[in-house]
């Protein structure tokens, strides 16, 4: 197993904040919008440096999406930010018509995705956002795995012409990808070479997958670990190449099983190379209050659970 280390722990949303601050400096068309969550979205630096390019929309997410669509018509690149639930489920139809179908250059940037927002509980813990956004034609869907990848993705999507959904989170987690990385939309990152099993992981679960890979490696099982940071367009080639080699796979994500990365992988396999797949994700249940760690444990979003599923799926080869 390739060695991954971290010196620092940071929240991915701060990677977004750093990225958009940099974009503020480099791209005068970038506009940041929020719906009464500027602090939670780490927009402070951007706002301080470019107050005239910050649009505070108040608690009115639907309007924020429409305003964003309208801003593109004046050549702007709006980054519409709020919590992931209010950035997707609250405004799906608005995104669908005014952004995706109209193919507007809006970047929907969503923090506090998944269980790991913690104590606020289920009303805020959206586990369906990736599923929703990946159903939209024209939409690019990205779920980065640490601070550096999030920052790089933030900068990359400003260059991409078209609607993007970028999802990140609240807890501090290890920073293990390079600070100077280029982010290539749609190109999976090969975390580790192996031939025993494929592990397709995204977001906060990538670090768990790495830890799982280490545990497995010690047991003589070398996992092929692939970080699917771009849920859509999906790097089908990377998925197929890996499973053709390993013959079985585990998906790992902080998302509902239905509609998540696992289902995207299942579709590719069913259509091209049927193989056993086990899921790590949330099984058709709402979340609840608790600390991020407690919730990841309780809902089985851990390295140990990935290891367990690897054993299970390898037995099915």
């Amino acid at each position: 197993m390739k060695k991954y280390e971290y010196t620092d722990k940071k929240d991915t949303r701060s990677g977004f904040g750093a990225g958009i601050a940099e974009l503020g400096r480099s791209n005068p068309n970038v506009i940041a919008l929020t719906a009464d969550l500027a602090g939670s979205l780490k927009l402070e630096t951007f706002i301080k440096e470019y107050p005239e390019r910050f649009v505070q929309c108040g608690i009115a997410e639907a309007n924020m999406i429409g305003v964003s669509a309208g801003l593109t018509i004046g050549g702007k690149i709006p980054f519409a930010t709020t919590f992931a639930n209010f950035a997707t489920g609250r405004v799906y139809d608005q995104i669908r018509q005014s952004v995706a179908y109209s193919n507007k250059n809006v970047k929907i940037c969503a923090s506090h995705a998944g269980l790991t927002l913690g104590e606020d509980g289920a009303t805020h813990q959206i586990l369906e956002d990736l599923g929703m956004m990946k159903m939209l034609p024209n939409m690019t869907v990205i779920n980065p795995c640490d601070y550096n990848q999030t920052k790089a993705a933030t900068i990359a999507i400003a260059e991409h012409d078209g609607p993007v959904y970028l999802r990140f989170g609240r807890p501090v987690i290890p920073v293990f990808t390079p600070a100077d990385q280029q982010f290539e939309i749609g190109k999976a990152w090969h975390v580790n070479e192996g031939d025993a099993v494929s592990i397709f992981c995204t977001g906060h679960l990538v670090w768990e997958a790495i830890k799982a890979g280490e545990i497995l490696s010690e047991q003589g099982i070398e996992a092929d670990i692939v970080n699917i940071h771009t849920i859509k367009p999906l790097d089908e080639e990377a998925i197929l190449a890996s499973v053709r080699k390993t013959g079985c796979a585990v998906s790992a994500e902080e998302h509902m099983l239905n509609g998540g990365l696992g289902d995207s992988v299942a579709q590719v396999l069913a259509r091209h190379f049927p193989a056993p797949l086990e899921y790590v994700g949330v099984h058709d249940t709402f979340g609840e209050s608790g600390t991020p760690d407690q919730l990841m444990q309780k809902y089985g979003l851990t390295a140990d659970k990935i290891v367990e599923q690897v054993k299970k799926v390898m037995a099915r080869k």
């Binding site: 009115a60 639907a62 309208g70 801003l71 018509i73 669908r96 179908y101 109209s102």
Partner: protein, 307 residues
């Protein structure tokens, strides 16, 4: 960015003498009649679409595109369309179901061939049932059809104009039933708070929606009082009187930082006797006999032809 070839427009705080456009008014009315014929023939051809609101908003749309808006034109007076619309007035149709009047006016203003109106709502057409940008039809800048979204989009476009130092104006048309959508009131709060004085919104106050009169379905009550409470400058006009539309739209708002909401009194189905004021014509196409009867009542002016 070329700034040549604008359709000029008088904009003044003083009351405008509408007689100055008296000759033009007749022409505008001729165009409006042609547009009404287009609408009826378009919806009849596919036995689908929304004639009622389209006919009621015809005079407004003709006045807007042929008199009010400062649009980019080439040397031959043909409109030039680019998505960004820098340095020209913009229009958004929020109540996308009245696409027939939008398409007809765009075609007759030269954005695309009038003959293309025959493809309305047909497979592979650029003239989708509800306006769409996916087919790259010139003149359309956003999809609509799902109600309640257009005012927000117009706010964004107006905001961008202010950021860009672009002094042109943004217009948006909405339905009165559409006022029941919550998103409208989010945008209603946004526009005055962001001082979008370069935004004029118009409500098609025809007191009709799908299931009946607006009063019976979900009474809008006093929309003027509502918008005033939200911080708008509120005006009214007779939407089926081209000269009143022009007179009203030419007036500048009182405060350059305050957006304008115009309650436009119209009749659903205006111009077709058997349709006037009847909500049943919201989304029903006339049959062949009804079409003929309607067209008979709408004779073309000399020099104007059907598509």
């Amino acid at each position: 960015m070329s700034t040549s070839g604008f359709h000029t427009r008088l904009k003044t705080d003083a009351d405008v003498d509408i007689r100055a456009t008296y000759m033009e008014l007749q022409q505008l009315e001729g165009i409006a009649t042609a547009v009404r014929r287009d609408i009826l023939r378009m919806v009849a051809a596919v036995n689908s679409g929304h004639p009622g609101g389209s006919l009621g908003c015809t005079d407004f749309m003709v006045a807007l595109y042929f008199d009010i808006m400062r649009r980019k034109l080439d040397g031959d007076g043909k409109p030039v369309f680019d998505m960004n619309g820098h340095d020209e007035d913009l229009f958004f149709l929020s109540n996308g179901h009245i696409s027939p009047v939008f398409y007809s006016v765009l075609a007759r203003a030269g954005y695309f061939p009038i003959s293309e109106l025959a493809t309305f709502r047909k497979l592979d057409s650029r003239l989708q049932g509800h306006p769409a940008t996916a087919e790259h039809i010139p003149g359309v800048r956003i999809a609509s059809g799902s109600l309640g979204q257009g005012l927000s989009v117009a706010c964004g476009a107006a905001y961008a104009k202010k950021l860009n130092g672009d002094d042109k104006h943004v217009y948006v048309l909405m339905g009165d039933g559409e006022q029941q959508e919550g998103q409208i009131w989010e945008a209603a709060q946004f526009a005055p708070n962001k001082k979008l004085g370069n935004l004029t919104a118009i409500i098609d106050l025809n007191h009709a929606q799908i299931d009946g009169t607006t009063q019976n379905v979900n009474d809008n009550r006093d929309l003027a009082a509502k918008y005033r409470a939200f911080g708008w400058f509120v005006d009214e006009m007779e939407g089926n009187d081209i000269s009143d539309v022009i007179r009203t739209l030419r007036k500048s708002q009182e405060d350059p930082d305050v957006p304008t909401m115009i309650l436009m009194h119209t009749e659903m189905g205006f111009g077709v006797e058997y349709m006037v004021g009847n909500y049943k014509w919201h989304g029903t196409a006339p049959n062949a006999d009804q079409l003929q009867q309607a067209l008979n009542g709408l004779p073309l002016s000399i020099g104007v032809t059907d598509y």
